[in-house]
Symmetry: C2
Subunit: 218 residues, 2 copies
Amino acid sequence: MTKSPRRAGRPSTQVLTEERILKAAFALSAQRTARQFTMTALAESLGVRTSALYHHFANRDAVIRAMRGQVSRALVSPVLHEMPVEDALLTWAHSYRDAAIAAPEAMVMLATSPIDADEGSFADYEQIARLLVADSWPTDTIVDAIVALESFIIGSALDALAPADNMAPGALAAQFPTFAEAEAARARLSTDPARRTFEIGVRALIHGLTAWARESTT
Amino acid sequence: MTKSPRRAGRPSTQVLTEERILKAAFALSAQRTARQFTMTALAESLGVRTSALYHHFANRDAVIRAMRGQVSRALVSPVLHEMPVEDALLTWAHSYRDAAIAAPEAMVMLATSPIDADEGSFADYEQIARLLVADSWPTDTIVDAIVALESFIIGSALDALAPADNMAPGALAAQFPTFAEAEAARARLSTDPARRTFEIGVRALIHGLTAWARESTT
DNA sequence: ACCTGAACACCGTTCAAGT
DNA sequence: ACCTGAACACCGTTCAAGT
């Protein structure tokens, strides 16, 4: 198709590195849907033939796994201990969601496949757990709180992947008037309704969880 | 490849119906990952050529959209109006989660495929919306509440998919002692921790959302 | 109308060939 | 070692041809 600017054979200066590929992968995943995130498109964005990628990653899944590793590494936030617990949880949830949204396909994998035990996720969990222990949450409430929050965050990230108007009934509005009106009201409030819902939901959830933990203490 | 048992031309008795295709689609989604859920595999499971599917559905997304509609349709529960709103939301969340757990890979596809309006989903939303309006929730809070709940439910269903011990740090316990202890305490409480977390989380979220809606009224 | 079969554009992946 | 280019098996989708 496009005649390549490089001829066959090892180039004198290396074109690709894992780092450069990952950077392009994040950029691409922000622009394309999970399904359009292809090795071909990734290679093209790097000005390289598709097969060149296979010298640096075993396959497409390996690229996604590397993205996922980078995401979890970015989460650890050292300032969490200097704020009230509810704010700390909120901060954590936000950074988690931002990371999740930056890597949609990685997110689907994270949700679909079980976490490998040697993942950096536990470092993250440990930090939150200490925070809650210090705030005198009962030991047996802590993992429930973490998992509940994580479930909401992942669900929200998936929701954010859908087209922004995916809740609009469109032609069916007449058939479902109450919902249609509510949807219109919500659309008027924000250009990024998924984000708005995330903010509301995560606050509601954190609120509800802290209240529950406090009850559990007595 | 496999020589077809049917020769070309319209068969005397119709082979496919939307219903039969959808049934096969759910069966397939229980066995394959979202990526392996192909039109080819679906056709094969129906003993039919791939192109035959296109007489009944416009494309792959249309199949997924119909699946989503069917899931939503299974949700409508006519008794919702006879109970307090928080109980009604809880009931709805439970039936949604049950449906989601019955077809987890379908949930991933439903959540991530860019699909638009299907009647079934909106019928469900309409019912919840009316419920909340009757309970005098402000119009612009309703869709946020629905989406937040849905996000949590889908995230929880995906979490329930993972092995029950997927939060156990295992050999890494010594490295993350606080979290390890909390995880052990949780594991002692329940044989189905994912379900336990769902119960806790959905109650916390509903609680938090109703409180938020009440504030928004004033 | 509803199926098959051929066809097209596109993927992921492999591998020989070139430097 | 690290790139290109050709090749293979596989997808989604379209469409003519057959009944």
